[in-house]
């Protein structure tokens, strides 16, 4: 059986972020959501030497740099919105599956923004995955 490169990387994401969920729970037992986010970003910065691209950094195209920085701002702002929703009366059991629907936004926007299409088989997988996330978070 041939395993695509993206599938291997996706498995790494699953394990890493799956463990993050546990530690996030443990961290917020001791400190506030905002503080957790601050230490999260300190943790990201600790990881920086491992990924520092060296002189290459100055050769990246400008729009690539902008998308990279925007990704960091939007990803972390989104995490703050999630924490704020929980703090402002949202039950974790409703908020977590609600925001886990972000792939829906991507599925809708990717043909328009990225000019990518999804095969019927992949679409079946996408639907199963979305149902799974909602059921798991209940």
């Amino acid at each position: 059986m041939h395993i695509s490169a993206w599938f291997f990387y996706a498995a790494v994401v699953l394990v890493a972020w799956g463990v993050v969920g546990i530690y996030q729970k443990l961290a917020t037992n001791y400190i506030s959501a905002e503080s957790t986010l601050v230490w999260l970003i300190v943790g990201l910065l600790i990881f920086e030497p491992a990924v520092y691209p060296g002189k290459e950094l100055f050769r990246y195209p400008t729009h690539g740099l902008v998308f990279g920085l925007l990704s960091g701002i939007l990803g972390n702002l989104g995490a703050w919105g999630l924490f704020a929703a929980m703090k402002n009366g949202g039950k974790a059991s409703i908020v977590a599956p609600f925001v886990a629907l972000y792939p829906v936004v991507v599925v809708v926007l990717s043909p328009l923004v990225l000019h990518e299409s999804v095969t019927p088989l992949d679409l079946a997988g996408v639907v199963c995955a979305l149902v799974a996330v909602v059921l798991l978070s209940v």
Partner: protein, 145 residues
């Protein structure tokens, strides 16, 4: 009535805000990955997080709890988030379909649920077991494609 109450609730709009951030977060991650390798994207991603951390600090009046456990767990969250984010950029860089990669990696709550059962001794509900079955089905489908 219930719907009207929900729309009036603050948490609902924070969720919409998060969805509004995370959709474009994925698209920016993909668009950036077309030009920049995964390690460079992760480097930029963390720098993008700095203004967000500063905003949190200002919001809290620079007062952070001095809980060693809380801080340690928070740092672990950050480092593991970075590992996951780096792998996500690598997945986008390797040319996987964005919608598929996003939904497949969006299944990470499945791993959290399984780990919570093993390490935090939480019990699975029947609905969660059904959810795991759907997640497994999605995975089989994605591995075939």
């Amino acid at each position: 009535m219930a719907v009207r109450d929900t729309i009036k609730a603050k948490w609902f709009w924070y969720c919409i805000f998060t969805l509004g951030c995370w959709g474009p977060w994925v698209l920016c991650s993909k668009l950036g990955s077309r030009d920049i390798p995964a390690n460079g994207m992760e480097f930029l991603f963390a720098i993008g997080g700095v203004p967000v951390a500063l905003a949190m600090l200002v919001g809290r009046g620079f007062g952070l709890e001095k809980s060693v456990k809380g801080i340690t767990y928070g740092l672990i969250v950050g480092i593991l988030s970075a590992v996951g984010q780096l792998a996500l950029f690598a997945a986008f860089r390797s040319g996987g379909n964005t919608a598929v990669v996003t939904t497949a990696t969006g299944l990470y709550p499945m791993v959290t649920v399984v780990l919570a059962v093993i390490f935090l001794r939480e019990r699975l509900t029947r609905i969660q077991i059904l959810g795991l079955a759907f997640a497994a089905a999605a995975f089989v489908i994605f591995s075939l494609s």
